[in-house]
């Protein structure tokens, strides 16, 4: 019982209480404690201690355990780095946006955890909608034109998307009509148990609506722009939070629907939908990667690409499915590392344009190296985990005999690699076009002290390498349990 309290009660309470306080230091301390407790609870849940399911309202199967661990891990790291960020971020009128920062993050944690562990589709929907509401003011942190526009677009697009998801839920109830499951209501356990008795047409329609609706939040093309604008204009801890954890929660809905349709003839269709979604996001990323000049936007598009690969892996099934699960874990870690370092660069170079940032390796010694390592992680260089998960997904593609698809994926990945490395290396070394000497006088010297963001990024990268080569047995068991529940 105390686990539920830790997971849900505490964040809600602190979120509400903080409306009264406005001393930032206490708020920071409190939210770190809450985050730590939440992480401890998530680990306990992950390692199998049983939790009451509130007469079917909550559900703790392997999938929720994994996603819960990802969420709390991301939230913990973001909270640690948020204070460092709040004080130095270049904001015109900081105190107004700082006041509501910690309230919204705690409420976000509450809504997100509720969405993950809810067993009822409607409850999941409401929690997802409330996460959007919590995140919207956080995006508007900088209080300038871009962040306002990003917040508006994100809010509008995602709420329209989620409205379509609600239509999907209604279609699901329609498909349940006339069967005994109808009385038992929209509980996942009930839906998964007797999904074979549903009406196939409505099930297919509900799958489409839910997939399209939720993909605005996950960031799968062609519904990705809202997500990309939000991530590229929000402060970097929030950007890390959105791209690392929010994508996963929305993906939970799609996974649940996949689970429901897994025993029915609609399964092949839902897999094709996922593959199409995955490929579309890869194409979109390739197209935009060559045209952009803002490194935060570049990282946003790389998260669209990686979530596209995850969805592609889910659509393939078998070893590809397992690869997609690992890819999700590794992607959340890499995104955090990338965004923290991007935050550092933004703070020192005061601009998000790539051509204004140069000789990173020389001036910001630590940030440069860590940003380079994070970039190598995101581009699937071996010691880091993403290389192994992508290899599993390629293996799944081959097992299905999709040679054409595999070569297309490799082609896109190569060109994304070319575009991204061109941008990152332009930032890394001295810019040859502008005469470096007179530029240096203007914004020198950078304060390159070793602060907490560097330490946390370094720890994240080490965890990424360790988890890449030697997968912990608990994780292996959970992932194979999930695979069994999707009957692979």
């Amino acid at each position: 019982m105390y686990l539920i309290l830790a997971l849900l009660g505490l964040p809600l309470l602190t979120g509400a209480v903080f409306f009264v306080f406005d001393n930032l230091k206490i708020k920071y301390a409190f939210s770190i404690i809450v985050a730590a407790i939440h992480l401890a609870a998530a680990c306990l849940v992950f390692s199998g201690s049983n939790v009451p399911d509130f007469e079917q309202w909550l559900r703790f199967d392997a999938l929720t355990k994994l996603f819960l661990l990802i969420l709390s891990n991301v939230y913990f790291w973001v909270m640690i780095n948020s204070y460092q960020y709040l004080f130095f971020s270049p904001v015109a009128k900081p105190e107004k946006s700082r006041k509501i920062f910690y309230n919204m993050t705690n409420l976000y944690l509450f809504a997100n955890t509720l969405a993950l562990i809810s067993n009822h589709l409607g409850l999941y929907w409401v929690a997802l909608e409330s996460t959007t509401l919590c995140v919207a003011p956080l995006i508007y942190y900088y209080r300038d034109k871009e962040s306002l526009e990003a917040m508006w677009k994100y809010l509008f697009l995602v709420s329209v998307g989620i409205a379509f998801a609600f239509i999907g839920i209604l279609f699901l109830t329609l498909s349940m009509h006339g069967t005994d499951a109808f009385e038992k209501g929209l509980y996942f356990s009930n839906l998964i148990a007797n999904s074979t008795k549903f009406n196939m047409i409505w099930l297919k329609a509900s799958y489409i609506f839910i997939f399209v609706g939720l993909s605005t939040k996950i960031g799968i093309a062609p519904m990705h722009p809202g997500e990309v604008d939000a991530v590229s204009n929000s402060p970097s801890p929030i950007a890390a939070l959105i791209s690392a954890s929010l994508g996963g929660t929305a993906l939970m809905g799609v996974l649940r629907m996949l689970q429901i349709t897994s025993k029915t003839p609609v399964y092949q269709f839902s897999q094709i939908m996922l593959i199409v979604g995955g490929m579309a996001s890869l194409i979109v990323t390739v197209v935009f990667m060559f045209r952009l000049n803002n490194y935060k936007r570049m990282i946003a598009y790389s998260s669209v690409e990686h979530l596209g690969i995850v969805v592609l892996g889910l659509g393939i099934g078998g070893i590809g499915f397992i690869g997609a699960m690992f890819h999700l874990i590794y992607n959340s870690l890499t995104k955090m590392a990338l965004f923290f370092m991007a935050g550092n660069i933004h703070r020192n170079y005061k601009s998000r344009e790539i051509h204004n940032v140069f000789s990173l390796l020389k001036d910001l010694r630590w940030t440069g190296i860590l940003f380079l390592l994070a970039f190598l992680a995101v581009v699937a260089m071996p010691p880091f985990g993403i290389f192994f998960s992508e290899l599993m997904i390629f293996q799944g593609l081959l097992a299905n005999g999709q040679y054409v698809l595999l070569s297309a994926v490799l082609f896109f990945l190569l060109f994304i690699f070319i575009a991204m490395s061109r941008n990152v290396f332009k930032m890394m070394y001295g810019s040859t076009k502008i005469n470096e000497a007179e530029i240096n006088q203007t914004n020198k010297p950078f304060d390159e002290k070793l602060n907490i963001t560097h330490l946390s990024t370094a720890v994240i990268l080490c965890v990424l390498i360790a988890m890449g080569l030697f997968i912990p047995p608990a994780l292996y068991n959970t992932v194979s349990e999930i695979a069994k529940s999707f009957n692979f």
């Binding site: 998307g161 599993m392 097992a399």
Partner: protein, 664 residues
Amino acid sequence: MSINLFFWGILIQSLCAIIPLIIKNENRYSFLSHFGALLGIVFSLLGTIGNLVFGSSGLIYIGFNPYWNSLNFRFDSLSTFFVLLIQILSIPALLYSFSYQKPYIASGKKVKLYVFSFIMLIVSLQLLTVANNAVLFLVFWELMALLSYLNMVFENEKSEVQKGSFIYFVATHLATFLLYVFFLMLHQITGSWNFSEFHLVFNSTPQYYLLFALGFIGFGIKAGFMPFHFWLPKAHPIAPTYLSAFLSGVIIKLGIYGIFRVFEFLKPTDPILGWIVLAISLISAIFGVWYALAQHDIKTLLAYHSIENIGIIGIGMGIGLIGMAYSNQTIIILGFAGALFHTVNHAIFKSQLFIGSGIIYQNLHTRNIEKMGGIIHYAPWLSVFFLIGSVAISGIPPLNGFISEFIIYNSFFKTAGYFGNYYPIFMLIMTVGLALVGGLAVACFTKVNSIMFLGLPRTELKAFHVSRLEYFSLGILALMCIFIGIFPQPVIAFIIAVLQGMPIVNSFGNDFSVISSAFPAFSPFTMIFLSLILFMTMTFLFKKFLSRKSRIAKPWGCGYQHLNERMQYTASSYADELNLIPSNILMIKKDAVVPEDIFPKAGGHFHSHSHDFAEEVIVRPVYSKIIKSINRIVFLSKNDIRVYIAFILIALVSYLAFAFFWKF
């Protein structure tokens, strides 16, 4: 026992790599890490030799991953050969890198990252050749590419360094993608990740040719065969010289190691594959050396020579492949022995030439040979070592280059002998091709030596500082060249031992008496070359004794007394006639301003530059076409919210239509 000695050595090296990150003082950590790594290499060298002598082909497990099962290492004969090559070559490379970085440290450049990545590069190379699990192999393969990239950006202020290293990084990444598919398909067919289980019967797998193509092109890009070599002339000149010496001496050989593994996995029994490999290698050899002839930048020239030597190694492997197709053991042995021997030779003399050019670069700060000249008067010993290197590389008798080309010539004659019908004609073409390559190499290296070292210095030269350490590393390599040239027997015995261990050789019957008969007799060589050198010293002493008086005077020059350095032959004029023949392939662009009036005033100038065919005609247009077509997809880029909502509607409608009209 010897295996954990090897791993102890690796441990020491990686520790020394981490030293620079701890110690602050530049000179101290550079000294400590370099000589610590040397100690580590000696340890692992003893380990490899130990287990070669005692022979242990067991698997060494370092961990278990649920999806890639056992991550293990194996010391089979081929990997021991390449590990030994890497370890022997890394000794002079490390010595030279230490002295190369000294002036840079003095001028206050932070070399922490580069020392770390160079030593880790050596460690990852050694582990790469010994890795037995495909995923572990891929991990170390990418690590090698990454670390050599990190090392290549030593002087990253210059834009050409940024461009060249970027092209290198993308090329290796492209090669790795091909290898992903290659190893995944092999895993799918054989169901295991270990190299030892990757052997496949030829006709059982439909995708056999696809697999061969993937493997060959994947490793060929790294080795530098002609059509996929575009990154090599871009990456070598900009890399710091100790890295380019190591890159072309050792890292390219890993492409060859990979191709040997491809032969081992697929055991090709179709001679056409052999012919394809032969054709590609002949083209790489001939055009490699012809491009080298047209270059003015010493390191690009040496890079193209690496392509030529890789071509010669490829010819040896092609012959071996044909032998495998007809399962005739003598041909296999001759072909592969020639290839392996030339790998050793090339690693030795190419590192020597690169180190020499590096020393010159450090003193003259230019790589353009047209600005050099007359260095022999300032650094005689350096020019002696460079001369030995260039005589060896063009395959001239007393030195080691000749021995490996001799084996390959013999394999031509033996192949023509064994298989009747058209083989003699093709083998004749191969012999003449190789002879042409030899002739061009002679022309190219006479050009390089004479323009750089002999004659009058084109830019005034003051002091020419070469540290004792550099002389020592050049000395080791020169001695190796001469020793192998005159006493090839020990290296031949070692290569025969390696060949016996290779499954592709011993699976066609293992009565190794046939091997000794297949090999041409090497005993006369030692006798001939020794007497040749003895005769030369005798005549030289005789000449010195007989000519009682010799005088130094102005060069004759048919009576014109005021010879100055601008009247000398330059590199482009020397090679001009030879470059005219394939001028459209070499794509030589000449811009010359010729003063017309009778008494011409100053201002005339001549500059010729050759562009790389593969890059200008294949890589650049394809790349720009793809980028153009990507940018043409513009409709996605309107950032108006109504367009986003319209996307949602369109996606919804199209999915619904697709769902209800799709028949399943």
